[in-house]
Amino acid sequence: MIEVRHLQKSFGPNKVLDGVSFRIENGESVAIIGRSGGGKSVLLKHLVGLLQPDSGDILIDGENIGPMNERQLLRVRRKFGMVFQGAALFDSMTVAENVAFAFRTQRHLTAGEIAKRVAAALEMVDLPGTEAKKPAELSGGMRKRVGLARAIIYEPQIVLYDEPTTGLDPIVSDSIDKLMIRVRDHLKVTSIVVTHDMRSARRVANRVVMLHEKKIYATAAPEEFFTSSDPVVRQFVDGVADAKECLI
């Protein structure tokens, strides 16, 4: 279970999050949506301890990770897998080495067992037989799939997706959505997806959280959220720029 209480974060004079609070139960699939630069990725990075809050609490299974140092956080992070916006694959390594990275220090696993797990993870993301390729040889969609394989190979409880479909064509985006659903259903993980792709949010999530003006503005089930008559929600869902932005 993840609980965020009164989270505040600023970068210099720029306040990004101002009193964000929400709770995510085990097994839930939550889409966090909001404007570009609105603090969605910042919020996601707080959940896994990549950023430290200025104030507020972040509880992972009841444990406040805010005051933890980097070494204490390593233990908590074993519960998480994260897929980055640009995949963040280690470009000096092959696909197999990337996917197996989490087992680098696991001395109880033999090389054969690791290879088997890598093959299974790559099979799950529909990329069998790509073990020997380097990240530079892969397309954007393939890189994200490898990133997903790397995030799920050690069977984490929570998978975080940072804009998984950004920059991909609709067909590849659709395949990534299907993968996220497959991972959610097969591995029974809690999924948190930061996105501004409304189609993806509608398909993947069973709850949508909207971040607006540095706070949680709305939270609802997808069917309720996407039929909301709230003007702010409507404007975002329909993708309508207001008059001021049209001038810009």
């Binding site: 989490a102 220090t105 975080l160």
Partner: protein
């Protein structure tokens, strides 16, 4: 008005330098904690020894050879006036062991390895690879910094020895075959005036310089700004700061070790 602006700029710069020192101290603390708690991966260490040590050899050999030859020729030009030709190699040997070997090796390695460490880690930072490491429950200091620090500490003394040996040998060749100095007296004088302590001083200096190069390179990479410009700045600063630190540290090490071995 102008004075206030200058004061503010000086204060800003002072705070910046202090904060840099503070952050380097925190990084050094993390490295120590990691060294005492983390079982270093041999594979990573060996790769770094190859990357820092083996790949730097050509640069170091050329530096050592030409420094030795120039030093031999210049020393001969002066010593020949006072009929001390056969002391030439002794001067070359002591200079290379105590100062030029470790310092020039460190400066050349700072240019090659310091820049490469800062660029590699800096690129990893701007492409979120360091965040990816952290989410995979790996401390960046354990995985990226410690193997580089240990490898630099181990390889710099070996590279310095290589530069010294090549420098003395090439100087010997110049002295004997070009300048026509009697080889037996040349060699005997070198052995007579070069002491064990000179070699130890050179090795200790190279060991410390190795740590300086890797520490500053890693620090600049880990704290580099975003984008290509950030990586560029980090790379330049890594080379400049480590070169300056090596020169300053060399002066103090010379004084401290001179005192310790009774030269002062």
């Amino acid at each position: 008005m102008l004075r206030a602006v200058i004061n503010s700029l000086v204060k800003q710069r002072f705070n910046y330098v202090l904060s840099e020192f503070g952050q380097i101290a925190f990084l050094a603390r993390d490295i120590l904690v990691s060294l005492f708690t983390f079982k270093i991966t041999w594979r990573d260490l060996i790769y770094q020894i190859y990357s820092i040590g083996v790949k730097s050899q050509s640069v170091v050999i050329i530096t050592g050879a030409f420094t030795g030859m120039v030093l031999g020729a210049q020393t001969y030009f002066q010593f020949h006036k006072v009929k001390m030709d056969t002391a030439t190699l002794a001067v070359v040997s002591v200079s290379l062991c105590d100062e030029l070997g470790p310092v020039l090796t460190a400066l050349m390695v700072a240019g090659r390895v310091g820049a490469s460490i800062a660029a590699e880690i800096g690129t990893m930072r701007v492409t979120e690879q360091i965040d990816a490491l952290r989410t995979l429950a790996t401390h960046p200091v354990d995985y990226l910094v410690v193997p580089r620090i240990v490898a630099a500490h181990l390889t710099l003394p070996l590279l310095a020895v290589e530069a010294i040996v090549v420098g003395i040998f090439s100087s010997y060749l110049v002295c004997v075959h070009i300048l026509g100095i009697e080889p037996v007296y040349l060699w005997e004088n070198m052995l007579k005036y070069t002491h064990d302590v000179d070699i130890v001083i050179g090795l200790v200096k190279a060991f410390i310089f190795g740590g300086i190069i890797a520490l500053i390179g890693c620090y600049k990479g880990l704290t580099c700004g975003l984008g290509a410009e950030g990586v560029g700045h980090a790379t330049t600063e890594a080379v400049v700061y480590s070169s300056i630190t090596i020169l300053i540290a060399n002066f103090f090490l010379t004084l401290v070790m001179g005192k310790l071995v009774g030269l002062l």
